[in-house]
């Protein structure tokens, strides 16, 4: 990190599991100077809930479009963009679900960088085991490699009971078996793989099985969504980083009796919402995480 990043208003700057955190303000974010050692950048967007209507976000029809504009406005475009689930808000009506998925896809087609990857959240996939989602975005779990990092997308939502399932765990084990122990591994999931707060269903029932499979690898980092807020946690040497939402923030786990969304504040619209840019330093297996707002401050 250099003076360029120090001049910005850091909310925090701390090391955790090879990650460095910062809150970035516009303009100028997205320059190479922010993470001078990064080999590449990616952007994580999460929990857009397209189709949601309600008081927690009276601007719901525009928030995703503003986020797309914000990503397009980055001075340096990321290598790729990852959406970590809950692309749409759930509905019992399969036709309406498909309409929302189609509209979501149309909006994100406006991203300047079209190297975009997706995964479902429970709102997209749990009511039909991912059937509609697959029609639009294909597989719900997959891997890809980018500049020395092995990315693994784990689906812990197509089963409404929040299980990865034995079949997918075997697939994960087979994939990991091919990798050298010092492989740089990044996992994307929707739900946390650890018991963050099961009292609010913030967990994956067999998430520990996936973590156990990953544990022999010293360089693993997990990025996920679901809880609509930034959160950082370690399971052994594995770091887990949740992202903010792009529809409404949720309270800190256990801070109130129910997990009702935080109220929209007209004086501070979009407060608590945002996306993040992640700079990967491959050799060191470090990730510089910069949280970005939906629109310029």
């Amino acid at each position: 990190m250099n003076d360029g990043i120090n001049r910005r208003n850091f909310l925090k700057l701390a090391g955790l599991g090879g990650a460095v955190f910062a809150s970035g303000l516009y303009p100028g974010i997205g320059t190479a100077a922010d993470s001078p050692m990064a080999d590449f950048f990616f952007v994580q967007l999460s929990d857009t809930h397209w189709g949601f209507e309600g008081a927690p976000n009276p601007d719901a029809k525009l928030t995703l479009k503003k986020a797309v504009a914000a990503v397009n406005g980055l001075e340096q475009q990321p290598d790729f963009i990852m959406f970590t689930g809950d692309l749409t808000h759930t509905t019992d009506d399969g036709q309406e679900r498909r309409r929302r998925l189609a509209e979501f896809r149309e909006i994100v087609a406006g991203l300047k960088n079209q190297n975009v990857r997706f995964m479902p959240g429970e709102h997209d996939a749990s009511l039909d085991s991912g059937a509609a989602y697959k029609e639009f975005f294909g597989r719900t779990h997959y891997t890809f490699d980018h500049k020395g990092v092995h990315f693994i997308v784990i689906d812990n939502v197509s089963d409404p009971a929040a299980r990865i399932g034995e079949e997918q765990l075997q697939w994960l084990a087979a994939d990991l078996k091919q990798l050298p122990r010092d492989a740089r591994i990044v996992v994307f999931t929707h739900r946390p793989l650890f018991d963050l707060y099961p009292q609010w269903d913030w967990a994956t029932r067999d998430g520990a099985d996936a973590v156990n499979l990953l544990m022999p690898f010293p360089n693993v980092t997990v990025f996920y969504g679901h809880i609509h807020q930034e959160h950082h946690h370690m399971t052994g040497h594995i770091a887990h980083h949740s992202a903010k939402s792009l529809i409404f923030p949720l309270p800190v786990a256990g801070s109130q009796p129910k997990r009702t969304p935080l109220a929209w504040n007209p004086a501070e619209p979009y407060k608590g919402l945002g996306f993040r840019r992640v700079g990967a330093e491959v050799k060191q297996a470090k990730y510089a995480i910069i949280e970005l707002p939906v629109q310029k401050a």
């Binding site: 759930t90 019992d92 409404p160 009971a161 929040a162 009292q199 269903d201 009796p257 009702t260």
Partner: protein, 120 residues
């Protein structure tokens, strides 16, 4: 014809109860508490139990697949339409504990809560 339908319904309930696999032999004196789920509520949504006193929880789903979970007490059961899940439950600690649905069931799932009060 109507009698036959009732017989079939009773058969389905009995078959469901035995197929769940979570059935534990109930002692005659143990209290039976039936909890019925319906989007997006549990009825009753508050149970009062006594610490150490075993009860039989009967879980019935009236519309869609749901889950009855008390994470703090490590107790959960599936609520499957057409079946009755019977589970023996012995609360081991006193206090108030949140009940949630841990099977995503639709727009309202996140608001589906209940409460277990366990007294000494």
């Amino acid at each position: 014809m109507r009698l036959r339908r009732i017989h079939l319904a009773l058969f389905a309930l009995v078959a469901g109860a035995t197929s769940v696999g979570l059935y534990a032999a109930a002692q005659p004196q143990e209290r039976v508490i039936r909890v019925v789920s319906k989007k997006f509520t549990f009825t009753p949504n508050e149970l009062r139990l006594k610490k150490g006193e075993p009860v039989i929880i009967e879980l019935v789903a009236s519309d869609v697949f749901m889950g009855f979970s008390i994470p703090d007490l490590k107790f959960r059961g599936d609520m499957i339409p057409g079946k009755i899940t019977r589970m023996r439950f012995v609360p081991e600690k006193a206090g108030k504990f949140t009940v949630i649905c841990d099977v995503f069931c639709g727009d309202g799932h996140e608001d589906m809560h209940g409460l277990i009060s366990v007294v000494e």
